[in-house]
Amino acid sequence: MAENVYILGITMTKFGKHADKDVVDLGAEAAMGALADAGVTMREMGILAAGNLMNASSGFGQQLQKQIGQTGIPVYNVANACATGATALRTVIMAVKSGEVDYGLAVGVEKLAGAGLLGGGGTAKTDGKVWSPKGRYGAVAPTDGRIGTDAMPGTFAQVGMEYGHKYGGASFELFAKISEKNHAHSTLNPLAAYSKRFTLEEIMGDMMIAYPNTRPMCSANCDGGAAAVVVSEAKLRTLSLEQQRRAIKISASVLTTDPYEEACQILPNVNTLTRNAAKIAYEQAGVGPEDLDLVELHDCFATAELVHYDNLMLCPEGGAVDFFNSGAPWRDGSTPVNVSGGLQSKGHPISATGIANVWEVCHHLRGEAGPRQIEGAKVGLAHVIGLGSACGVHVLEKSAA
């Protein structure tokens, strides 16, 4: 029987613009914050997993070690699109669970403020052109904008519209209302990049990016870092009662990719791999969606949040619109979703996201979330999607100790 593993310390930096800090500064701030929160040092760490997607070949983990402590431990530099942070965390969890190490540190950092649109590629042809086929489709010109869209806002818009086509009821106004919820939640989160409440009219009347996603319905590119210290249960039992009390049990840690289905290479299918991850996670944790006190899910766009209510089985299949309209995902509802403000307001520094959402859940389970505390929270779920695709799901439980 593999050992239980716990989050001993976890932190996120303020998300937003950090013009005066580079990725090592932000990574160091997050890592040292997590170590301090855990009450341990780099000396105890047996493994470091580090993610920084925009510089994925730079050896970010080693750069971080040089800044906060070089002890010769193995570094795993990971890259998995928007699931990079969750992948770093899961790498460390696997190492601790295997019994190879007692402690591990996972760090995710991104600097994205002002990065603009991600995913699209529309390089104009130069003068003196000759059509010549390139790439796997033999394209003689860039296809983004000529054969649909490559960029994220439109891709995820289509994901939400597809759900609407299948089950009905998913209007522009409904998607905007989801965004209204998350922006309202963000007003209680001092670490969010944006913590301004918007009216529904303001959201619907803002600049259209890719119908039905207007600007406030898109995740905010920003800078930020997050880090977590993971510990084995055997080691945790040797630590102080206070450390044991604040430790959060990782009841499930799952990473999936999308299995082949018709159309999945045409429009990324973010549904099946999420549903698969959720099924495995609920089974591992021995809890069901009805047991969750809060959920942080990957609302990279308002259109994405809707489909994940269903994929995470927070509602019956096809029932996401009714689930939202019932008020369930508001912070005073039956299954609060994205009480942090979600990626639409908290921000989405890609590699930090998959640890920051775990931090949010831990914060509530520890009863340390201040004005936005979900009272009595005992079980929570954190979900991320990296397009391509990778899905990370972690189920976390308040320590019994």
Binding site: L117, G120, G121, G122, T123, A124, G128, K129, V130, W131, P133, R136, Y137, G138, A139, V140, A141, P142, T143, D144, G145, R146, I147, G148, T149, D150, A151, P153, G154, T155, A157, Q158, V159, M161, E162, G164, H165, F172, M207, M208, I209, A210, Y211, P212, N213, Y260, E262, A263, Q265, I266, L267
Partner: protein, 136 residues
Amino acid sequence: MTDTAAAPTQVPLVQYLVLGDRPHLVANQCTSCGARFFDRRNACAGCFGTTFEPVDVATDGEVRAFTIVTFAAPGVPVPFVSAIIDCDGTSVRGNIVNTAPDPEHVTLGMRVRLTTISLGTDDNGTEAIGFGFEPA
């Protein structure tokens, strides 16, 4: 079209677009499980089979999902409508063309058909031809 030797030639935007009297898309179909792919293949992502045959994809279809892109990467003209079309069981990505790019004119479930679009000629006089879907 002229029948002189100097007639301008055409190239498709992508190799899976077949030009001619009846323009259509062609997919690589796995001979084992029938999965269809538009790029060159090493093996089938569904069943790992390694033999494929080219098949014509239906030119009529139904809009299963769409978005109206009004903000795009530099060099990409906006607005345009990106859509996922169900062409008789084969999903295809393409733009909706020859109609206004707004939610009054583009709707989920609307019937569309393949059409071709000139992308201009290069320095050798070769014309590139793209495709889109127009209301049927």
